[in-house]
Structure formats: C-alpha cells, structure tokens
Symmetry: C2
C-alpha cells in the first residue's frame, strides 16, 4: 500500500473545496501545474479517479467525496497532534479549560477549588469562548471543555455528565409572555431566537450573539428572546424574567475532553468535577 502524505491531502482538499485548480493553487500559494501533477499522482497511487474534469467544470467523484471527508479528519488529527505535543512540551504545564461565560451552571468555582486540592494539580487556564468550543478541543488547543448536550456534537470526545437542567425562556418583564407561569415551544414560533456562532441555522432567526451580556442586553431591548439552562437565573438583570418552558428538552452540562487522553492532570480534573457534580445534585435534588 502506497503511503498517503499530508501535503497531498492539503492539496487535494484545496482543489476539492474550490473545484478549480487555479484558485486552489492560488490559495496554496503555488503555481497551478505542480498542483495538477500532484493530484494526478495521488490518483495514480490510489488507483482511483478523484475528480471528474469536465472541460470547464471540475466535479468530485464518489471516491473524491470520501477522500475529502476522510482527509479532513486526517488533517485535523495531524494539526491536533502537533498542538498537543507542543503543549505537552511547554515548560509551564497547565490545564486549559474552555468555558462559555455564564455556562458553567455555577459549578466552576467549587470544581476549581476541589481540583487544586488534588495532588499534582496544574494551574488551570480558563479560556472563554462563546461558540465553537468543541472545535478547540478537537484542534488540540484545549484540554477540556464545558459543553451542553444535546446542543453540541460530542462525537470523538469523551464526556462526563455534570448537571442536567430544565430550560427557561428569558424575556423582558414587559413581554407578552412575562406573566405566564409556563410556556411551551409553540408559543415561541414567531419570536426571534439568537443564532449561536458555529451552529449553522438551527431553525433560529435573528442576529448572532457572541457573549452573555450582549445577549441579555438584546433581550432587554426586545430584539430577541432566548431559551437557556435554568442556572442563568442567578445572572439575570432586573428587567428580565424567566419562564419555564414545558416541552424544551432538558440540557445536560458535560465535561468533555479528547478521546484517549491519558494526562493524569486531566484525569484529576475529571475526578474533581464529577465529585462536585454529584454533591450538587445530592443537595439540589
């Protein structure tokens, strides 16, 4: 079996994405002829035609589509490998945890305290990011992340459930639904819901939001409403109210980390978070 080189995959994905050798070559910062040759070579070595060269149109074959998808995972894995290795080699070891501001269900302080008490605990570096948090994990830029199920795609990650919460509708006190004791999703059919960065049009309309303060502000301005886990209750402004949504499926806060991770520091962190979570659910009911 002939070897499949990363450089070739970079070339191929560029062409497969542009469907145009010239533009792909420009994107790669190289001339078009060597790119053509590299693709031909790749096709010869695999014994498979990847691109249908209609004279003015380049199209992916079935096999090409497969290689595009598979190749992306290889490139992702390769980039992640490089970054994780570099992070592991740094002189100042730290645990990078990525969170959504306000999305920690109130557990984070206790988790951090518990973790720091563990033997061999590393300094924790918090990275706040509103969208695309799981991408940071997959890219090897972070060691762990707080995510929400089923909101995030958790394939390829190991996870530990921390906290399951019902969801609340957050609206201005002057909203037509503000005095309801409960609502259901049908009531929101016409409401502008936020689009979360990185989530491609989940039936949501309205502008993209990038942080919690901005979101609450927009809600207060009657530009939108939002359905959020019940733990944001603590962080609401005075001019907003929260109403339980009966038929919104509960959201689970999960701690996620890359599959097959072996770092003892991460293992200790998972232990700490789990311990805090079970204590919290014991108390909270």
């Amino acid at each position: 079996m002939e070897r499949l080189e990363v450089r070739e995959l970079v070339y191929f994905t560029a062409v497969a994405e542009e469907l145009h050798f010239g533009r792909a070559a420009a994107r790669l910062g190289m001339a078009q002829p060597p790119l053509s040759r590299a693709i031909q070579q790749l096709e010869r070595r695999l014994g498979v035609t990847l691109l249908e060269r209609g004279n003015r149109r380049v199209a992916l074959t079935e096999a090409g589509a497969v290689l595009l998808r598979e190749g992306r995972t290889v490139l992702d894995a390769s980039a992640a490998a490089a970054r994780r290795t570099q992070r592991a080699g740094r002189a100042d070891p730290r645990l990078v945890l990525v969170i959504k501001p306000g999305g920690d269900g109130g557990l984070l302080p206790a988790v951090l305290d518990t973790y720091q008490a563990e033997p061999g605990a590393l300094p924790v570096e918090l990275v706040c990011s509103f969208g695309e948090r799981e991408v940071l994990l997959r890219e090897g830029r972070a060691d762990a992340a707080l995510l929400h199920r089923p909101h995030h795609d958790l394939t390829g990650l190991d996870t530990q459930d921390l906290l399951t919460e019902t969801q609340l509708l957050v609206i201005p006190s002057s909203h037509r639904l503000a005095d309801r004791s409960r609502v259901c999703l049908n009531d929101l059919d016409e409401e502008p819901l936020p689009r979360w960065p990185g989530v491609p049009e989940g039936g949501s309309r309205g502008p993209e939001v990038h942080d919690l303060g901005q979101l609450l502000h927009l809600i207060a301005l009657r530009r939108m409403v939002a359905v959020l886990p019940s733990s944001i209750r603590d962080q609401l402004r005075d001019d907003l109210v929260a109403v339980p949504v009966d038929d919104a499926e509960p959201t689970t806060l999960v701690l996620a980390w890359p599959e097959h991770a072996t770092s003892p520091a991460l293992a200790a962190f998972v232990r700490a978070a789990t311990a805090v979570a079970v204590k919290a659910t014991d108390h909270g009911g």
Copy 2:
C-alpha cells in the same frame, strides 16, 4: 504553524517504539543517520524535544509520549482514508459487513433480506472474523460490523443497538455444573475460559480460539468452558448444555460503523437492521 508530515510520524513512531535509532532504521529499511536527522528536524519544527538521548539509552519525554499516541491516530486515520477512498472508487460497489460466525443473534438472514429490498441496496460482502473485528472498521477495510457491548471498545464508532441478551455458560453435559439450573461467575473461578484473539488477557486463561466450531469442540473435550450470549443456544451440539449465568452482565449486539459515515447504502443497511431488531424484540419479548 509548521506542517507535520506523515513520513515524519512514521519515522518517529518507529523510534519511539524501538527506543533505539539503529533498530528503528532497520525496521524502516533505511540507514540510521537520515533517521536521526529527520527526528531532529521534527523536534526543531515543533520546538519540543521528543526523545531524551541518554548516552546508551533513548527515552520518551512527556511530549514524545503524547506525540506517539496522537501520531498513531493520525497514521490510522491516514491509512483508513486511503482504503476507504479506494473502496469507494471500485467499479463493483459493495457493502462489506464483518461478523463473527455464530455471533449474529440469528438476526442476520432477516436483516440481509430486508436490506436487499431497500432501494439502492448494494451486494453485501460478508467477512467472517473472530477477533479484531472493530479494527477492520477503524482501518477502513469494512463498512459495518456486528459487535458486542461491553465486550468491544466502541469509541470512535457510531452504533445502533440491535439485541440485548443474557449470557449462558456453555459446558459439556458431563460437567460438574451441568445439572445446575443457574450458576454465578464465582462458580467459574477455576474454569479455563477462552482467550479471544485481540483481547489482551481479560483475566482469561486457556488457549486462544479462532472460530465457534473449534470453541464448542474444545468445550466438548473438557478443555474449557465459555460464557456466551443466549442466542448460541440454537447452535449447540448435543453433547453440550447451557446454564444461565445469574450475575453475568447482559451483552448487547450492536451494529457499528465508522463515525461520520455518509454512504446512503450504509444508511439503508442501518435502517434495515434497526427495523428487524425492533421487530425481533417485539416478538421475543
């Protein structure tokens, strides 16, 4: 960020596994000096030392251990990408399903019939393999596999549960436990259990077995006993009996396929298998 090439990863994993440049070079079929240089280059580009060169001893650094693990996943993904692309490009499209002989829970005929009735169904190629079945999936050599949870490691695979079965102890009719109406795992402490190929010493002792006929034969010869899903009852020889094991955790037959697979043929197969499975559980209770 500098690019991380597959060739470099092959070189590094060889050295990391051998912990010896000379042997690694021999394994790679090359001379030692260029290998040394390649590793140094890799270290420079990552800005990380991967190997501790004690004068007569080569050892992995922390970062090196990380790169060894991550690099293996890259190499696996790369090999899988190549094979899946080649399979997708073949002139005669087929769906490769890997099974364990006798391990289909009796569902397979119905699943195959149902699938062939689907529009756009491909010919199904059955591959029988006793051990290492999930590896075939991960290597891109098969499209789907029948596996058992919790026996197999399903990380990195998508799965659909088909059938949950209790487990039976299979023994010769002359065995000391043959007239028991039930046993528990403690009763088996001294019994020779088979070692499954690919499973590294799961507390099992006794010889490796590679197919079901051989296994049953060895049981009949009083060389071993085995705990198996209850659906093998149909395939028992006259000189063997099966006794329920009270505290053996139930086994679930799952259909597994590579994460993120998009092939419509595979999707149809999953549909067919799921349909047959729910029908079977409805009937069987």
